[in-house]
Symmetry: C2
Subunit: 242 residues, 2 copies
């Protein structure tokens, strides 16, 4: 059965899908806006495969074409998410909102958008969607609006379609100005099945979230603020709101 | 024995090294200018491994640190260099200088520079060197000076060091305004061992260049114009100048 989003009359959009709350909400939002979505997961040497598995489940649920492209940033190191550096836990709200943590992956969003641009160009898609967020965003430089704008400028110089004047590439970051509470509310309004998503930087062997890394803390606070129950399993049952 | 380029007092530079004539000349030029060079080969789903083998030989010759990062653009397709599309042969000089050929890899240099930026950031390097060329360049959009300038702007927004104001990233494209003749002459003046390099898009099983693809034609003309003998093996011995 063909997905409604595979309708050839719809404009194509490449959606970066990590398997997390934000990118899943962006996928639902992109389909809701009438695009034929093409989900792209870039496997950048993550230490655990849960993200890729979650992305695969989500793409299947939405019946969209899904590609997983390996980019072995683990060869390069420089981050707790790709190298053997401990993921910080139980950081205070002040720490969460100041500085750039060790979970920052060097140039990660530049790499993700570059691969998305490659697929968009091969597909003839003019639209690329990414779930970056500049509010509750862990302080990553490549989550800021000026980064998205600079990449869009680059994309319109870098591609064959740009040279030939046939396509104007647009980078969509629909969550960029939303709080985590607002993202949860948007996801809920779009019918996102949050149980399919994963956000934890350091889940245990059965995939349960640690509840203590920056990503878990920001996620838990977003659900709590939105008054929505987070359905994913946590290692400490007390963390799951009733 | 430590390479002279590993001297900790020298500024670090990431050099994109494909194993071709141009990137090898850039590596030699970068070391000659006093940088500690770090050679980066991005294996982007090429149909043959000769380029990676050549890059490995060249990095070993210059005794520089070398990383090969896999980026599976073959998953995405859209190019004769990554998908099952025939490499064009025996194109006329007019064809060579007009339009964008099927060997164009979507967003390739954006992907290469993104990975280079990631490694540069992990290394604390401010300089990234790439052997793009806008003269005898096969008409690729991402070989133009405006592309390099746009990527440099992006890089200075994308990274932790940029946010913290500690590093100004520079993208060096020292060959961008040179003809192939001038590149051969520069390589020769720097003592580049051209026999280590490979340019052909479609070598045979023993690695001999076809002599007929765009890359071979441009390379052969460059050597001929410079009056230098190209030492690499061609499938038809008559193509190797005496």
């Amino acid at each position: 059965m063909l997905s409604p989003s595979a309708d050839p009359a719809r404009p194509r959009a490449v959606v970066l899908l990590s398997g997390g709350l934000d990118s899943t909400t962006v996928l639902a939002h992109t389909i809701d806006r009438g695009y034929a979505a093409y989900a792209l997961t870039v496997r950048y040497g993550q230490r655990h495969a849960y993200e890729v598995e979650a992305a695969t489940r989500i793409a299947a649920r939405y019946r969209v074409e899904h590609r997983v492209v390996e980019v072995d940033l683990g060869t390069i190191g420089g981050s707790a998410l790709t190298a053997d550096i401990a993921v910080p836990k139980d950081r205070s709200p002040d720490d969460l909102s100041s500085g750039i943590p060790v979970t920052y992956v060097p140039a990660r969003n530049t790499v993700l958008l570059a691969v998305a641009l490659a697929w968009a160009e091969a597909l003839g898609a003019a639209d690329i969607c990414i779930g970056v967020n500049a509010v509750d965003y862990s302080g990553y430089p490549d989550c800021r609006p000026e980064f998205i704008a600079a990449f869009e400028r680059l994309a319109n110089i870098a591609t064959k379609a740009a040279v030939e004047g046939t396509t104007r590439v647009r980078i969509h970051a629909p969550l960029i100005d939303l709080t985590k509470r607002e993202i949860v509310a948007l996801g809920q309004s779009l019918g996102v099945d949050f149980a399919l998503t994963t956000s934890c930087y350091d889940p245990n062997a059965s995939g349960a979230a640690c509840g203590r890394c920056d990503a878990c803390q920001i996620r838990l606070k977003g659900f709590a603020d939105a008054g929505v129950r987070d359905p994913v399993p946590y290692q400490h049952a007390s963390l799951t709101p009733p």
